[in-house]
Symmetry: C2
Subunit: 135 residues, 2 copies
DNA sequence: TTCATCTGTAATATTTATTATTACAGTACA
DNA sequence: TGTACTGTAATAATAAATATTACAGATGAA
């Protein structure tokens, strides 16, 4: 996991507070303090995951695709994770060692459990819940 | 998080199966398929966290510092994590934006909750539990 | 219809983090 | 006193994340 979860959550929280008004990637980039192209890239990803809608052209910009009550932080987590926060080494352990030849399998299985647990926890928090913290 | 959790777990599982015999960093590196110096570095970290003991000199090497029933994967997690698997952007969000100026605080708080949840889950699995999977 | 302002995306550069390597001093045992 | 280890620092190489630039395409307004 990396800063993408933070950025995505920041973006969505902004859109939650926009009350349906479209926000441009430039405006959002200003609040996040990041490059507009990077923000558009993340917005593009969030759109592919059905969390935001975009409109091109002169009066274009971004809005949430559905009510913030229907978006959970688990959705955000699923959208931004390319891989599990738990990494695997690129090196294959030694196949002749009884531990080495099985360790990846067991670690992967453990990671899946942990990941499921994280998702379960995050699914209990909606974007509306999170956004209401900002007054 | 990164591959260090995997490597540390691999090391400890090897030592669990050693039945008290000392293993050298060279031997361990062979199973993990990594550089002995890297393994020693992680072992040094595990020693600082009280999970392994080391012996220098000609017949030196590494052993577990206590019974595998008394080591949980949460201990391993705590030992290897330099930071939470959830990252924060280096860029400070814009302080004039109501969302930007508070988002870090709320995200950090959320990360702490998630991290605690991960630890709770991992604390239920001892090294003995994990090591018994290897037959 | 043409200009301004936006999205979408690719290509690339930069920075940061991770992992690997080398080297060697210090320790302990035979 | 030589051999086989650990401990650790310094550095190199690699990989991943982030930032930047550029521009085609869309849309609405003058």
């Amino acid at each position: 996991m990396n800063a993408r979860f933070q950025i995505a959550t920041h973006i969505l929280t902004l859109l939650y507070h926009s009350n349906g008004e479209v926000y441009s990637s430039d405006y959002i980039a200003g609040s996040v303090n990041a490059n507009p192209a990077l923000i558009r890239k993340e917005l593009s990803n969030l759109r592919k995951h059905g969390l935001v809608e975009s409109k091109e052209g002169k009066t274009g910009g971004y809005t949430l695709s559905k009510a913030a009550e229907l978006i959970t932080l688990a959705d955000v987590y699923a959208a931004v994770k390319s891989a599990s926060p738990f990494g695997l080494a690129k090196n294959q352990p030694h196949p002749d060692c009884p531990v080495g030849k099985q360790v990846n399998k067991h670690i992967v299985s453990l990671y899946e459990d942990v990941d499921q647990n994280i998702s379960n926890q995050l699914s209990k928090i909606t974007l509306a819940d999170f956004g209401k913290k900002f007054v």
